[in-house]
Amino acid sequence: MNDIVAAEHERAVDSSRPTAPKRMRLHAGLSTLADRLGVAIALIVLVVLFALVAPYFLTVVNLLDVARQISVTAILGAGLTFVIMTAGIDLSVGSAVGVTAFAAVSLTLDGAPAPLALAVALLAGFAVGLINGVLVAKLGLAAFIVTLAALTYLRGVTYVGTGGTTMFSTHLSYSVLGQGSVLGIPVPIVVMAAVFAIGWYVLERTVFGRWVHAVGGNAEAARLAGIPVRRVLVTVYVISGLCAGIGGILSSAKLQSAVPDLGTGYELSAIAAVVLGGTSLMGGRGSLIGTLVGAAIIGVLVNGLTLLDVSSFYQQIIQGVVIVMAVGLDRLRTRNAVTEGA
């Protein structure tokens, strides 16, 4: 977010000073570009690296596969970006994927039409978010605790509901959402793109989005400025819950089933994507595009390492190291940019 502000400010400076030497402007343009790309550079480096050592990596089929693989994590990350922007956290998204998937699949198995099943799944996500949001915003409980509890009890609900076994259907009525494609692009990718487009609009082009930035940046100032801080907080958790609902639908559609531990650990990858994308856990600073890039880095890493036959044990080690390195680099890059003024 800061990068974008800085970028636009550079632009404004340039246009307001037509006499500035061209070389300087060019320089400013380049450094701005580098600033803006941030972790995107890490992504490009990874892509180039894998393209060189694994020829199959840079094929359309494989790249679409990567995009499909990351779609659920990225969508969860989109919702989480809103929450983390307000200096909150939502640990329950993985379990919420499980619960919403269970809701959709079990209704379908009971003969409910697909639109109803999907609506109920989304509603379940909405409800989870609402409960989290109300507990955090209205009762002032710590988000970490509230959503950690939700992580636990939602998983419990899923186990009870599924009876601990996989609920499977060979012709799940909405399986097209997991397996179909539009103009050759798998549906989950289309959904992911839509979620990010809408999310970006809400975060960057609506008054509500400005409020999210403000609440995360300085909650007391936001309150005194007349912003309905609690409502903003409840809403971001609801957004996160809805995203988890979408994630639950897509996952169950792909698997044609509801597995009791579906979504376990997703919250960690999603949080990693958000943080990789430059969103500050302290709130106030972040971007959805960054989250998408962050999710892509994780996806590319997993895919590339798998192509190179690296065992999944080592993959985990490498993933962890890459996350620390990427975040560390980002930190170094912005250390001087975000100083307290005057």
Partner: protein, 512 residues
């Protein structure tokens, strides 16, 4: 090369230059700080004063130029290096930890220890009390800093800087948040320290302080030294003119007629845990000054009126309509706007742009269905930012990068953007330069003339007296006097504000 004699240079800045991104903030700045001398640094908001100090104290590296300590060039890799050489600084913005106690804050980083590393609570407390006494603050060391007023916190900052036993003390607008009395006290301390042979670099926008303290004045303008003069050649005119580039006179000549509109704001029996039952009225077009020492409850009273805090009882009406003060947003709904006391903690979103900050929480820049865009925000904020002459590279610049005075202007712009019928200003000119002060006064006059009811809290007596139609004085969390006409004098205010009039010999108790 060593020069330890009194009057010898302790520190020299030679040809300092500094840019942020491509914004040149300092350009070839040279000045010398001598032992036993107060060197005043003056200049408009955004002239580069604080930046120069950050260079001198190792917080920001310079792009060019040298820092000489005792004639030897030094290189700072961080504030610790400067501290080690005896440079102590009180920054313009408070840097205390609100959740720690006064004593903890004072001892932060220099905690006394028993052998084995166990914290020595007794000495910590004693040292803290000693440090507080040095600045004449009668604060209990066990109080949480977050509960103190800004003025009290400022005293703690100064006490902390002094406890390092520095050779060079840098004070960036130390009195901006203080009451007249506290400020006077502080100036006394500065004079004492000078007599002890400290070199002092002092930044202030207040002419009377410059007049009283300066042995030498350097005026910064747009990052370069516009003028530099020893005390003998110093005059207010010369300073102001080289600072602003134009003469500023008749700061307080408001030229408003006597305001006798309808009663706009009426407060009846308003009270809370902190404020005793209070009633007051402000008419349309009237500016009512609220005077009192720090801790008298002026901000607290106004926060109740503005709905920032919940009142325990009482009633507020605007234009005869009862305001629902129990409901958050009730006061805002009645178009009561308030400029809060602490711009960083209570007002600004430092990471967000100027345009965002001006429009936040107002009706500006909204499209249908709650949409908005950076260009819309810019367009909406521009007239206000221009009117207050906010100095920035563009309206997209994050507010955190602005100089202190310009941050204040941004916050004021937001208050105006709300188009209030009642406007409460809590120290509106804190930290703004003299030219900007004139702008802000002009603005207060304009909106009062348009029929807005204005309450002005200020610790600068000339300001309250010059701007107000009427002055209410608070003492110990209630209004003790109303001064009008020829009763509006500094002497009266001081007497009521300190409780002298009631002939009570109570210490000026500073309450949390």
């Amino acid at each position: 090369m060593k020069s330890q004699v009194a009057g010898g240079p302790v520190a020299q800045l030679v040809g300092i230059a500094k840019s942020f991104a491509h914004n040149r903030v300092l350009d070839d700045v040279t000045l010398t700080l001598e032992a036993g001398r107060v060197h005043v640094l003056a200049g408009e908001n955004g002239a580069g004063k604080s930046t120069l100090i950050k260079v001198l104290t190792g917080i920001e590296p310079q792009d060019a130029g040298d820092i000489l300590i005792d004639g030897r060039p030094v290189e700072f890799n961080g504030p610790g290096d400067a501290r080690a050489l005896g440079i102590a600084v009180v920054h313009q913005e408070l840097s205390l930890v609100p959740d720690l106690t006064v004593a903890d804050n004072l001892m932060l980083g220099v905690e006394p220890r028993h052998r084995g590393g166990r914290l020595d609570f007794r000495s910590a407390r004693e040292n803290a009390v000693a440090a507080l006494n040095r600045v004449g603050a009668s604060l209990s060391p066990g109080v949480r800093v977050g509960q103190l007023s800004v003025g009290e916190q400022q005293l703690i900052e100064i006490a902390r800087a002094l406890s390092e036993d520095p050779r060079l003390l840098v004070l960036d607008e130390p009195t901006a948040a203080l009451s007249q009395k506290e400020a006077g006290h502080l100036l006394g301390i500065v004079e004492e320290l000078r007599a002890q042979g400290l070199a002092i670099l002092y930044i202030s926008h207040r002419m009377e302080e410059i007049h009283r303290l300066a042995d030498h004045v350097t005026v910064l303008r747009d990052g370069h030294v516009a003028d530099s003069m020893p005390r003998a050649d110093m005059s207010e005119d010369r300073i102001v003119t080289s600072m602003v580039g134009r003469p500023v006179n008749d700061l307080y000549d408001h030229g408003r007629g006597s305001a006798q509109g309808e009663v706009r704001l009426s407060v009846r029996g308003l009270r809370s845990g902190v404020v005793q039952e209070t009633s007051l009225e402000v008419r349309a077009g009237e500016v009512v000054g609220l005077a009192g020492i720090v801790g008298a409850g002026r901000s607290e009273l106004c926060r109740l009126i503005a709905g920032f805090d919940r009142a325990d009882g009482g009633e507020v009406t605007v234009d005869g309509q009862r305001v629902d003060i129990a409901r958050a947003g009730g006061a805002a709904g009645a178009d009561i706007a308030m400029l809060p006391e602490s711009r960083k903690a209570q007002g600004l979103f430092l990471g967000m742009s100027i345009a965002d900050n001006v429009c936040m929480g107002t009706a500006l820049a909204k499209r249908r269905f709650g949409g908005t865009s950076p260009s819309r925000l810019r367009t909406a904020a521009k007239p206000l930012a221009d009117r207050l002459r906010v100095r920035a590279t563009s309206l997209d610049q994050p507010v955190g990068e602005l100089s202190g005075g310009n941050q204040q202007k941004v916050l004021l712009a937001r208050c105006l953007a709300k188009k209030p019928t009642v406007l409460i200003l809590d120290e509106p000119t804190r930290g703004v330069d003299i030219g900007a002060k004139a702008d802000i006064y002009g603005l207060i006059n304009d909106i009062a003339t348009q029929g807005v009811a204005v309450i002005l809290i200020s610790s600068e007596l000339p300001e309250v007296l010059g701007m107000s139609d009427r002055v209410l004085v608070m003492h110990q969390r209630r209004i003790v006097a109303e001064l009008t006409g020829k009763d509006m004098t500094e002497e009266h205010i001081v007497r009521y504000a300190t409780g002298l009039v009631r002939k009570q010999v109570e210490p000026v108790e500073v309450n949390s």
